[in-house]
Point group: C2
Chain length 431, copies 2
């Protein structure tokens, strides 16, 4: 078979990782695919000392790659929205298959990109956009394709997981660990995308669309970060048998699809609770297979490159074959996507951990439990902690209830004279 | 697109699970594939009360399914070797694609079956043959296809893992737990296949061929069961920071491929050590992605059915498409398979836990450590336990050494007058 020719746009961390994996493992890969895969051209603003590209044609104009008639597959690894979108659409219009690691691009512009790809009869693949090297998109689209997916819960941002793991292990505070994470290169100078859950919400949006066969709707994902998590809450959670993890959760309910990223308490003996450091893991709960867990490196040059190369190999296997029915980008056929409601956060249901700062006077617990009772919220556990401060921490675990009811109850509790400051609320999932 | 028509042979546990998943999720599946998947015929000796097949054409002659001109995909779920082989080859000769959950068949007769499939230009798929519902074969063949695989270590027999988990958790003995496992239906009346590691070796053989691109060579796998593991060894392992798991291990070395199933001590904080009960998990270590772990139900009607249906969907997606280069059965092209040496067990290298029963007299440790030193075996830890019996348990952990050297050292230790009975040897892997 003819060699398959790849053009790589962007030679940063993932670009260099992809190049190195493709070239180092070229022989093993061609044993698998049955033909050579060649990096025909690289488009990058500058060279990268982490890969030796001296024998490769390098252009400073990435758009040249998208129109290069020699190239079969354009690999978009420049990141960001606008230029990446322009590049990907140009490549598609020129009949190129596209591989991208850009979760923001797919989550926000994926519907448009997939429509263009369908029109031009090319494939768009993005395994590396979610959970780095873990083949979770393939698992959902293909490996579990016989199932109705009930829920997905994932640690899909390594930065956030590193911070929470350090806070847990060393009883340190968020701000303190963030500085260390930045020094180690695990967190950006502006960490907003990671610690506020935006990056995780991009990834969750993609996973949910594949799980349920709905268009990408990033704007409907609820996003809450980890910057307000304290060492005290991690300690209280631990005493109750839980770990706090920053999870992306998608769940199918009779009312619609829940789509939410927030700090979440999960039982500490679960495998997911024991995924630490920068590692990622996704738990899928499905009607036939039950629970599966998919664990691995969520970032890094070659781990992400591994997923990019897997996509390239998938496409290369089809290029010779005139396959008229390849796997659709979201696993479901475009015309079979549904307009299932994505629930507003107020409509979602979960259990809650509440941390109240109570004044030291009688009747506080009576007032609080009365409010919860009137809202129909059942209490699972209640613990009053000792304190050396001018308030008493009261910890409550509730049974499952709609977020709307909990919002109202929290507002009523915060209005009590005997409650100081804001109530800390952490959602609890038993997976 | 035309419906894809499936014939299911065998209506036991997996057959009924497959039928139920295919029919219950028919709508979701056709949204994914773009066409209907219909169970055209079932071949089974008897009906199964767990599935309602009243509207399906049932024959008592499974070979009728293999030659039925209406059928596109024959699903072999009868198990065993001879009749299953005959059925699969007949289906292939009749131009049918084949899906099978039969690990013994693939491990022992796979090379012959794949050659026949290639000749007749049909696909043979067997995701359900390894680790039940976990899409591990797809992960290795496709999701991690850009990698050179270093090693695979898996809990790939649920029966064995249930027994070891119970022994661990409740300090019970093997024989005792086996009886319970049989009562619960987790173990067969004759448990040999499961507890002696034969089933795991079938699965490991398949995984190793896919990981390294070598023909299936079940006869070269080393197999050691768990029936000699004692509650005492589990306790000593725990004190040293380890769990004992029955692992299938394949590893690429400069000398060749290690292929071995045996009880293995692994650090207790690893995720794999925390996979308990009947669950399965496979850790893959690869050059680009690093470690990934794939966890889920290794058995059960619908969990295994989930993998069978995934294979059916994969084939259905290709049926309309005239794909001339589908993924090869072992991931690598047939002509690219290598005759890499599979190492004999004596040539493999690992660390060891040794449990000696020493007579209560001076000089025992000196004698033992002298033998190890002369064999070039470095000791990592040594613990002499208290005992209320007529011997003193001595526990040793060694550094990595070739099995052959360890065999010789153990023979020499057992020959010492001051050592009573056999030395217990458990291999240690740090993953």
């Amino acid at each position: 078979m003819k060699p398959v020719k790849v053009g790589i746009c962007g030679l940063g961390t993932v670009g260099s990782g992809t190049f190195n994996v493709l070239t180092r493992n070229a022989q093993e890969i061609s044993r698998r695919v049955g033909c050579e895969i060649i990096v025909e051209q690289i488009g990058a603003r500058r060279d990268n000392p982490n890969c030796i590209t001296t024998t490769t044609n390098i252009t400073r104009d990435i758009f040249e790659v998208a129109t290069n008639p020699e190239i079969d597959i354009v690999v978009e690894l420049i990141g960001g929205y606008d230029i990446a979108l322009k590049l990907v659409l140009l490549a598609i219009e020129n009949g190129k298959h596209v591989v991208t690691a850009n979760k923001a691009l797919i989550a926000v512009h994926g519907n448009q990109i997939f429509a263009a790809a369908k029109k031009h009869n090319v494939t768009v693949a993005f395994e590396s956009a979610v959970a780095g090297g873990i083949p979770i998109i393939k698992a959902l689209r293909e490996g579990l394709a016989g199932n109705k997916i009930n829920s997905i819960a994932g640690i899909i941002n390594g930065t956030g997981n590193f911070i929470l793991s350090e806070m847990q292990e060393k009883s340190r505070d968020f701000a303190d660990v963030l500085i260390e994470a930045q020094a180690l290169g695990y967190a950006e100078a502006d960490p907003t995308f990671d610690v506020e859950g935006i990056d995780a919400a991009h990834k969750l949006t993609i996973l949910a669309s594949i799980a349920y066969g709905v268009p990408l709707q990033f704007e409907k994902a609820y996003t809450e970060g980890i910057s307000k998590i304290t060492a005290a809450d991690i300690k209280f959670a631990d005493e109750l048998g839980y770990r706090i993890k920053h999870l992306g959760i998608a769940r199918r309910t009779a009312q619609g699809i829940e789509l939410r990223v927030h700090p979440t308490m999960i039982p500490k003996q679960t495998l997911l609770a024991n995924v630490n450091g920068v590692m990622n893991a996704v738990v899928v709960d499905a009607d036939a297979v039950g629970q599966t867990l998919h664990y691995g490196a969520g970032a890094g040059a070659e781990a992400t490159g591994s997923a990019v190369v897997a996509d390239i190999i998938d496409i290369a296997r089809n290029i010779g074959g005139a396959n008229t029915n390849p796997v659709a980008p979201l696993g479901f056929q475009a015309e079979a996507l549904l307009d299932t409601t994505i629930l507003a956060m107020e409509q979602t249901e979960t259990c809650y951990y509440l941390h109240l700062k109570a004044a030291e006077k009688p009747g506080v617990l009576a007032d609080v439990t009365k409010i919860l009772g009137q809202s129909g919220i059942n209490i699972e556990a209640i613990v009053q902690k000792e304190s050396d401060q001018d308030y008493v921490p009261v910890i409550l675990l509730t049974q499952q209830v709609a977020e709307q009811k909990m919002n109202e109850a929290i507002a009523a509790i915060e209005a009590l004279d005997c409650i100081l400051g804001e109530v800390t609320r952490i959602r609890v999932e038993h997976l």
